[in-house]
Point group: C2
């Protein structure tokens, strides 16, 4: 069976879990804390980044959430997450890169640093200015999602794709960390409510990171 090395608030591990759940692939979770010096995990991946996905019986080790998503797209026909023509697939991949890189760097990574890593490691209080910058960044990312959803049923077009899973994975971590003010983003709220109701999403919403509690609305489909 596949083993996923991850921690509950890793947005890229969430993207992999959503992809595997949508495709009906069983996976066993292995909890790691990449911010600690864990030699076993470092042996598995010198980059010391989650997610890492292992199929020991086949000797397969997969690293990088996009490489993993493309792997299952190629090997599992069920529930295609990068469907359509070559230009459709390019549009899905454009959005996945945008959420994985820009949404993560502008907003999710700073929130994780201020509200998760500082809490777990240095015990410093969060930097209010960094938090404000992150929440302002999220707000403009939500404006862009609203814009996409004004023209499309799902983020990349008429069907659910990896772009929806990548965006929901990032936003779910930001929301857990209290970094999202949903007011004024009805299109994105409606889309995210549907994402939250999917069977693939429910297990993630039930998990908690030690010592850090999410806001009350976090796991409610209507919020």
């Amino acid at each position: 069976m596949w083993q996923l090395y991850q921690f509950p608030l890793c947005p890229f591990s969430r993207k992999v879990r959503l992809t595997m759940a949508e495709k009906g692939i069983a996976v066993e979770l292995v909890r790691v804390s990449p911010w600690l010096d864990d030699d076993d995990f470092a042996d598995l991946t010198p980059a010391k980044q989650t997610p890492v996905l292992v199929e020991a019986s086949k000797g397969i080790v997969l690293i990088d959430s996009t490489a993993i998503a493309e792997y299952f797209e190629e090997t599992v026909d069920r529930a295609p997450m990068i469907p359509g023509t070559a230009p459709n697939r390019a549009e899905i991949r454009r959005l996945v890169s945008w959420f994985d890189i820009k949404l993560y760097q502008d907003a999710v990574a700073p929130l994780m640093h201020e509200r998760m890593l500082k809490r777990l490691i240095t015990r410093e209080p969060p930097d209010a200015q960094a938090l404000r910058r992150a929440m302002t960044a999220i707000d403009s990312h939500l404006d862009y999602l609203d814009y996409l959803l004004d023209h499309r049923r799902w983020l990349a077009g008429p069907v659910l794709t990896l772009a929806d899973l990548a965006a929901a994975a990032q936003l779910s971590v930001a929301d857990y960390l209290g970094g999202i003010d949903w007011r004024g983003h009805k299109q994105t709220v409606d889309w995210y409510a549907v994402m939250k109701s999917r069977p693939s999403f429910r297990p993630l919403l039930g998990e908690r990171m030690e010592v850090i509690m999410p806001p009350a609305h976090y796991d409610k489909p209507d919020f």
Copy 2:
């Protein structure tokens, strides 16, 4: 014909140019300066990032270097750049993400900021400490390339792949900006010398960015 919106020192545009050249796809270059407020370019891509690839006669606009590389991998059989089994392809994609995200953020982006953007926009002198950090980061990335090349003929295995193009694109920009000390990295030097000699690479090495000159060894295959 395809039109690529780019500037000479954009590592992601270089990755696309190398991919198209290896596959023998003609492309016309359109020079843009994303750091200026160019409304036409902003209309094309709200993210205001290069590369953007346009086929006006077909109404196709492709954004994001990885989405573009995957697009040509799917639509052009010649010179496959993501070849092999699903695990082989996952390894190529893992390395492409590593070079596009980590090598770029740790080293190439700071070098571009200190030695290109400051020169073109603010005219400030580069920050010596930031330059040192970037060059130290490049050195450990070169150590990792040396390690890969101790075990493999090319970065991802026995054949040239998108991983080699992505790494060479990033390193070529860092080298143009005088950010690489090649001493002590024989494996990577030998690999990069071969990359520089490829017909796909020669045109890039001949181009110059206004007011910024590369070191003498920059375009020499033996350096």
